[in-house]
C-alpha cells in the first residue's frame, strides 16, 4: 500500500518540532487543572453534607467538555491556516504541482495530516475528561462517544483553516479569514433566527435548522443530553422563539455531525479549486 507522501512528510516534520507536543501538553494541563480544581471545589462543598453526590460532579464534567469544545473550535484552525500559504511562500506548492501531484491530492494530503493531529489532540484529552467521573456519573463508553462527537467539529474547523490558507496570501490573513468564517458560522445562524422570527413567525421554525451550521453543536448537544440537561436546548430555541420538530430535537447530534462533515467537504473542495493552476494566478 502506498502511503501519501504529503502525510508522511508532514507527520515527520511535525514530530521533529516541539509545537505539536507542546500544544497537546498545554491543552491537557489546562483541562486537567480545570477538572481537578472543579472536583476539589465540589468535594469540599459536599463535605458539609457528609456524602458524595456524583450528580454534582457532572457539572465539572460539563465544564471540562465545554472548555474542550472551545479549544477545538479556537485552537485547531490555527494548525491549518498556514499549511498552504507556507508552501506557496517557499515555492514548494509549485514544485508539487510540477512534480505531478494534483491540487485535490495536495489538499487531501495536507488536510489528512492535520486531521490526524486533530484526532490525536481530541483523544489525548480522555484522561482529563474522566477526572470528574471518579465517583461515577457517566459511563466509559459515553465518555468515548463524547470524544468522538468532537471529531466532526475538528474536521470542519481544520477544513475551514485549509480553505482560508488556500484563499489568502499570508498566514495571518488566512488566520483572520478562518476565524471570521467560524465566528460567522457560530453567531450568524443564531442572529438570523433571532432577527427573522418577529418578521415571519410561521416560517421561522425552519431557521432552527440553520443552528446545525454552528461548529460544536454535536458535542454541546451530546454533553447536555448525557448530563440530563437536554432541556437547555429547548430553552435555547424557545429563547429564539423557535419550536423545532421532535425528530430534529431527538437527532440533533447526528444531524449536526452530518452537516459539519458536508461543510468540511465543501470547504476542502473550495480549497482544491483555489490552488488549481487556473485559479492561483488570477
Amino acid at each position: 500500500m502506498k502511503f501519501d507522501p504529503i502525510i508522511k512528510r508532514d507527520i515527520k516534520v511535525s514530530s521533529r518540532g516541539p509545537g505539536f507536543m507542546a500544544l497537546i501538553m498545554v491543552i491537557n494541563v489546562i483541562l486537567c487543572g480545570a477538572g481537578l480544581l472543579g472536583v476539589f471545589g465540589r468535594l469540599t462543598g459536599m463535605n458539609a453534607y457528609g456524602r458524595i453526590d456524583p450528580g454534582q460532579l457532572l457539572y465539572v464534567y460539563m465544564m471540562v467538555a465545554g472548555i474542550m469544545a472551545v479549544f477545538t473550535i479556537l485552537v485547531l484552525p490555527g494548525r491549518t491556516t498556514g499549511i498552504i500559504t507556507s508552501e506557496r511562500d517557499s515555492g514548494t506548492l509549485d514544485l508539487m504541482i510540477a512534480a505531478g501531484l494534483s491540487p485535490a491530492g495536495i489538499i487531501t494530503g495536507k488536510y489528512l495530516s492535520s486531521l490526524l493531529f486533530g484526532i490525536v489532540a481530541v483523544f489525548s484529552c480522555f484522561p482529563a475528561l474522566i477526572i470528574p467521573l471518579i465517583y461515577g456519573g457517566v459511563g466509559f463508553s459515553a465518555c468515548l462517544l463524547l470524544l468522538m462527537s468532537f471529531l466532526p467539529t475538528a474536521a470542519l474547523v481544520l477544513a475551514i483553516g485549509v480553505f482560508a490558507s488556500s484563499a489568502a496570501r499570508t498566514s495571518s490573513s488566512a488566520a483572520a479569514m478562518a476565524y471570521g468564517i467560524i465566528i460567522a458560522l457560530v453567531a450568524g445562524p443564531v442572529l438570523i433566527a433571532f432577527l427573522v422570527n418577529p418578521v415571519i413567525p410561521d416560517g421561522s421554525n425552519y431557521m432552527a435548522y440553520s443552528v446545525l451550521l454552528c461548529p460544536g453543536v454535536p458535542s454541546v448537544s451530546l454533553i447536555l443530553d448525557q448530563t440530563g440537561n437536554g432541556e437547555f436546548i429547548d430553552l435555547f430555541f424557545s429563547y429564539l422563539g423557535l419550536v423545532p420538530n421532535a425528530v430534529f430535537m431527538s437527532y440533533i447530534t447526528l444531524f449536526s455531525s452530518v452537516t459539519e462533515l458536508v461543510m468540511m467537504a465543501a470547504f476542502l473542495i473550495g480549497a482544491g479549486v483555489n490552488i488549481t493552476p487556473k485559479r492561483r494566478y488570477r
Binding site: 502506498k2 507522501p5 508522511k8 512528510r9 515527520k12 516534520v13 521533529r16 518540532g17 517557499s90 515555492g91 514548494t92 509549485d94 514544485l95 508539487m96 504541482i97 510540477a98 512534480a99 505531478g100 501531484l101 493552476p277 487556473k278 492561483r280 494566478y281
Partner: protein, 305 residues
Amino acid sequence: MALDDLSLNIEDGALYGFVGPNGAGKTTAIKIMTGIMYPDGGSLILNDSEVGPGSRALKESIGYVPDSFGVYSNLKVSEYMGFFAACAGIEGLEARKRTETLLKYVELSDREDFYVEALSRGMKQRLSLARALIPDPPILIMDEPTSGLDPRTRYEFKQLVGELSDNGKTIVISSHILSDISELCTDVAIIDEGKIVMSGRLMEVMKLVTSGNPIVISVNGAVNRTVQFLKEEPLVSTVTVKRNDIMISFNGKTDDEEILLRHMIEAGLPVRNFSREKSSLESIFMQLTGHGEERIAASSDDYEI
C-alpha cells in the same frame, strides 16, 4: 496581459537561453511550460503532439528548477529527495537508488543526512537540480539558476548544465546573467513586454545584429578633419567621438564600407582601424529591449556631433 502571442520553438537537445528584462514575462512563460499555470489560449506541442496544460505527459517530460529553491525546514536532504520521488510515483528501493545516484551526480552524497535549510545557496541549487532530475525528464527548465551564486559555484553549476546538455537533455534557461547564456546556450530568445523580439541560433542572432552595429574608426590624430570628412558622406547618418575613436552609423552595405574606407585613405586620413563594432549578447539585449540609450548615456566621455 503578461504574455502576448508568444511563440517558442525549442529543438530537441537544444540549450535554450530565455532572456528579458524584469517583468517581461519569462517566469509566466516558464510556469505555463511546466504546467504550474494555465494559459488563456494557445497550445503546447511536445514531440509533434499537442499536450494539455498541466497534463501528466507534460509533467513527466519536464524537470523544473525554480528561482526560489523550494525547501522544507526540518527535512533532511535524502528525505527531501525521497518526498519528491514519491510525488513522481517513485518509491521504495528505486527511489533510494535514484536519490543516491543523483546526489552523487551533484556532489551532495556526503550531505544526505544534513537538513536542507542548513545547506549553502550553491548546494541548495544543486539539490534543486537533483530533485528536478528524479523522474529523468528529457527536458529541464531552469528559472534564474545561477542568480546569487558565487563565481566558483556558478562555474560548477554551468559545468553540470553543460554535462546534462551533452547527455542529450533539452534545457531551457531563463537568466539575467547574459554572459552565462552566451557561454552556455546554443539558441536564444529575447522577450520584452510579453513578446519574443528575437529568437534563433545564438551565433545567427549575433551575426544579424552585428550588421546593424556602428562602424568604429580609429585615426592617428586628425580627429576633427576625419569627422568633417565623414559628415559630408551621404551614407553616414551620425558621428560620435569617443577619445580617438570615431563611431559612425552607416547605412550602406559591405561594398559601400569598402568604398568609404578607400575614400578616407585617398583623402590622406591616417586610418588605423576600420571595423564594425562586435556585438555581445548584452548589447543585443540592450538594443532589442529598448534600453540602448541608457548605456550610451552612461558614458560621460562620449559626445555626438
